[in-house]
Symmetry: C2
Subunit: 222 residues, 2 copies
Amino acid sequence: MPQPSAPRTSLGRPPRISREEVVAAARRIVDADGVNRLTMRRLAAEIGSTPMALYHHVRSKDELLVLLLDDYAARTLHRPELPEEPRERVIVATDAIHSALADCPWIVDVLTADDLLSTSALWFVEQIIDGLLACGLTPRQAVHGYRAIWYYTAGEIVVRTTAARRRTDDDRPTYRERVFGELDPSELPRLEQVADRWASLTAEDTYLDGLRALVDGLLASR
Amino acid sequence: MPQPSAPRTSLGRPPRISREEVVAAARRIVDADGVNRLTMRRLAAEIGSTPMALYHHVRSKDELLVLLLDDYAARTLHRPELPEEPRERVIVATDAIHSALADCPWIVDVLTADDLLSTSALWFVEQIIDGLLACGLTPRQAVHGYRAIWYYTAGEIVVRTTAARRRTDDDRPTYRERVFGELDPSELPRLEQVADRWASLTAEDTYLDGLRALVDGLLASR
DNA sequence: ACCTGAACACCGTTCAAGT
DNA sequence: ACCTGAACACCGTTCAAGT
């Protein structure tokens, strides 16, 4: 692990690239061409170095992606004004995380790391847990509630951004369109009933509605 | 696209492998070694053929993965006895999909395709929509409700299986453990308060609790 | 029509050597 | 200590040719 702030001795050569430069260059590539185009070779070219030089500043490509997410969160996750009312505080804090992630579709590949994204997101988790506690949940219920909220939020982003990614890939009818075209109305009458509205209904952004329903349900079960 | 049931003419040579054989061999590899080990080259070796022969039966590796998911769903997604009560019908139908997917961690890479998995899952979607309608939601609310349920379910599986995947990768402390170790109690008092119980609390399976809360909330908003 | 061989244009990472 | 070059052990897919 490099120690950028360690006192520079006369041993060895001076570093030519830093961890920050590596992350910044990776960010440029991802912003310009998408996360699929971020390879160690391409990154080395962007920096004007060799693939192996990168491994002096980053343990692996996976670590690079986590650093990239940290960097992104630190730059874009600004703390909003939170309402006093605890239930609404949970909604607003969650929505802030969601908005930041939704603007950043490449995140899906890293997103699924664990239940925390980055230290920059901790403040938001704090607010969510605090809001749930203030609504009368036990600590146990609050942590479980936070998890449910995170599942819902992560799922919405993963499903929506992956669907969008596929749409640009090819112009053929989607799997969904094919399936709905061949519905057997006698076996699946409800789906038949909504089939022609499905595309427009599922295109609507109902993230906040679903979030409110979930939080209501979590608080009602208290 | 091959036509296995088309009348065999005297033109050309007889096929040596079929689409079904390709999918079955892919299934064997995935079951034995995980989805990461499924490559076109490895698959060809398993069948005793060449990589390019596969492309006669399957358009691309992506299509192969979708076929694999269809195959898996057709084999394991058995229709359960559903309760009369519509709210409970929604829960049981959703839980059946969730259980099937949760036993199949490789699915995460394909899962995020769209809002439908495979034709075998349509019956379950029908039951969920039907249950929501029977509870008094409008068709619009029912479709949105189904989406919210799917986000929650997909998110739970993605987050949980990816976390499990990482755990086996290395023995170093997780990112989460590092973060919780360095909490500033004055800034993040609630997280500090639950820090030592976080691991055990989030290890509990609370999928059904969260699902019930979500469905309750969806029905209450009617 | 179905299959093969060779090749294209890539990957992430290791290893040994240079300065 | 930091960087380089060459190599390892792979990928998915195209293309031209064989039967």
